[in-house]
């Protein structure tokens, strides 16, 4: 059906082996930096770079979590609400009169809360079988309500060590948050690449029936994926609360859109089963640097929002073209 010539031509275009988006992304990133730097040299100043990296880690951490879920072919739209709940928990626990809860305990409680929300999501999707978009849309609303519920008034955090978690710099130049991000990345990368669980995740996303026939427990894998995503979102919430030193009910509102864009741009296929964290890393860099770059270039804030939408649409167009090309090449 597809002529020999077309197939050759297409495989020539496909210079980057294994259909990887990453080299393209790196080029895009480099071009972007050059563009922004030429408009406003402040873009590449050390202070600005430090600020970019300190901020993009929250998106990055959430993106890692969402990647795990998307690889199984599902979505999690509730990560923003999970982030908010975790942040509020941190703030609230620091403000209880008369009780001095150790920092480690507070962080663990917040992460456990995230895991619990992830478990709810996982239960609804894996056990009950509701479409993940709908169920996480519902949990988004429910847990956002919880976040507002706990945040009766804005809770401030005055505990210095906690604040330095998010705002401190290692050796004066590397943001602490970057360290957490990298650690999480490495762990998740190793899990995805070298453990059975990681392979199961790819398998469930790629071909559910084959996975079941191969003995993979789809329910358990999907469930764990959502739990991991919830925990990642909670970690992001802790970091955000630490960086801003307070927490309110609106934290994380609307962030799921940005994280979704990062994942799709990073090559995680919407159909599941394809994509690696490497692409997600570069995509995080790109999206983290764009709003900063646009702000420094004096682009009005409304256009910046539109930009993210355009990026998302471009990303999914590219994703679908690659899917088409894959199918063509297979023929």
């Amino acid at each position: 059906m597809v002529s020999e010539k077309t197939k050759n031509f297409l495989s020539v275009i496909n210079v980057f082996n294994k259909n990887s988006m990453t080299p393209t992304l790196i080029i895009v990133y480099a071009v972007m930096i050059i563009l922004f730097a030429s408009i406003n040299p402040l873009y590449v100043s050390l202070a600005n770079i430090k600020s970019i990296f300190a901020n993009l880690t929250i998106s990055g951490i959430l993106a890692v979590g969402l990647t795990i879920v998307m690889l199984t072919g599902n979505f999690d739209l509730s990560i923003g609400s999970t982030l908010g709940v975790a942040a509020i928990i941190c703030a609230k626990l620091y403000n209880i009169e008369g009780m001095d809860i150790p920092m480690a305990a507070i962080i663990i409680i917040a992460i456990v809360a995230g895991a619990a929300i992830g478990a709810v999501n996982g239960f609804l999707v894996a056990v009950v079988g509701i479409n993940s978009i709908i169920s996480t849309l519902g949990t988004l609303a429910v847990f956002r309500g919880f976040a507002y519920l706990f945040a009766s008034e804005t809770a401030r955090i005055y505990y210095k060590p906690f604040i330095s978690l998010g705002r401190g710099y290692l050796f004066g130049n590397i943001p602490n948050t970057m360290v957490y991000f990298i650690v999480l990345l490495v762990i998740m990368y190793l899990v995805l690449r070298f453990t059975k669980f990681g392979r199961d995740i790819y398998q469930v996303g790629a071909n559910k029936d084959a996975a079941r026939l191969a003995g993979v427990s789809i329910k358990k894998t999907t469930f764990m994926a959502f739990v991991i995503c919830g925990m990642a979102a909670a970690i992001g919430g802790v970091v955000m609360a630490s960086q801003l030193a307070f927490a309110q009910g609106e934290f994380g509102l609307g962030i799921e859109f940005k994280i979704l864009t990062i994942c799709v741009l990073g090559g995680i296929s919407l159909a599941g089963g394809r994509g690696t964290l490497v692409g997600v890393i570069v995509a995080t860099l790109i999206l983290g640097s764009i709003s900063n770059g646009l702000a420094l270039s004096n682009v009005p804030i409304d256009w910046r929002e539109a930009f993210q939408g355009i990026i998302l649409i471009t990303a999914i167009l590219i994703d679908s073209i690659r899917v088409r090309r894959r199918q063509l090449l297979r023929v």
Binding site: L137, L312, I316
Partner: protein, 325 residues
């Protein structure tokens, strides 16, 4: 990505009965909780909300039956209301011209959505998610650039009459809704076009082999969703008198809930207009009842989310059980 084991069950008579019972229970509950609930003023407020949600839910119904989806309508309404208000109040254009332009823009947006989704075979939710962001941003851009504020007045006699006058005691907007319900019901349940839509949703491959131009049908359905969006924009401007860049922000959750409550399956091929109507009623009653009880809006969203999960879970469990037997 459908499980081998589940079978989609559409909307059956027993479903209607259950939903009606839920509806009655809700009405009773809220009436007892607060007598204001059945006051005339409240009922007319409810009817207004219902019309807005209802028009959009009706537009979504055939689209979702055919496995399409559109969540960009909220932002589309925001943008169109802003554009209409600007054209009428700042540029001084004729009211009817403004309204027609608004509807045309809505239809064009629907067409673009449908075209891109079908031509490139994209997941509708993602594309319309991106569209939603772009349109929302454009709404804010237009409002801020040409009016320096997010809310632009658009007060006209004609729209005021439309919003407030009644005929035989029924407000005009409600008549619009009833007419639309009748039209949609007739087309979906009684005509070949309707059956085509169900087939396209239930089994696109078979539909294509039967000679149905699946892509064209779906694009057309997106266009009609655009039409609903346009009508809803006019209604919202008539009811509130302003064009705001936040008009549509809170709309997707209730509308989507209403459609899903009513039995439309995300997998397509199932559902009916009556289900959607009941879904709209339930969602409006929950929202309105909770407002009357003075519950803050974010809790209401919490309950709507909860209701969505519970009902969809119930459908899912019922489907699974049906498949096993």
């Amino acid at each position: 990505m459908q499980d081998l084991k589940t079978k989609r069950k559409g909307f059956k008579l027993t479903d209607t009965v259950i939903l009606l019972l839920i509806l009655i229970a809700l009405v009773v509950f809220f009436s007892i909780a607060n007598r204001q609930f059945i006051a005339y003023a409240n009922i007319s407020t409810m009817l207004k909300n219902m019309v807005l949600t209802g028009v959009l839910a009706l537009g979504l119904t055939p689209l979702m039956i055919a496995r399409g989806l559109d969540i960009s309508f909220g932002s589309a309404i925001s943008m169109i209301s802003v554009i209409m208000a600007l054209l009428y109040s700042k540029v001084g254009m004729n009211l009817w011209a403004v309204l027609i332009i608004g509807v045309v823009i809505a239809v064009v947006i629907g067409f673009i959505n449908g075209l891109i989704i079908e031509k490139f075979d994209l997941l509708p939710i993602i594309l319309t998610l991106g569209m939603m962001a772009i349109l929302q941003a454009l709404a804010m851009v237009f409002a801020n650039t040409y009016a320096e504020t997010y809310s632009i007045l658009m007060l006209t006699d004609e729209l005021y009459y439309f919003a407030t006058r009644t005929i035989f005691g029924i407000p005009y907007p409600l008549i619009v809704f009833i007419v639309l319900v009748a039209v949609y019901w007739f087309i979906l349940a009684k005509t070949k076009v309707g059956r085509t839509i169900y087939l396209v949703g239930a089994n696109p491959a078979v539909a294509k082999l039967s000679g149905i131009k699946v892509k064209k049908v779906k694009i057309l359905l997106y266009v009609f969703m655009g039409l609903s969006t346009g009508i809803a924009s006019i209604i919202i401007v008539a009811l509130t008198g302003v064009g705001m860049s936040y008009h549509g922000a809170k709309l997707p959750l209730p509308v989507l809930s209403a459609v899903l409550l009513g039995g439309i399956s995300l997998m397509g091929g199932a559902g009916s207009v009556w289900g959607t109507v009941i879904g709209v009623l339930i969602v409006t009653i929950i929202f309105n009842g909770l407002s009357v009880l003075n519950i803050p809006s974010y809790y209401i969203q919490l309950f709507q989310g909860l209701a969505l999960i519970i009902i969809v879970a119930a459908y899912e469990i019922r489907n699974k059980r049906a498949a096993i037997h």
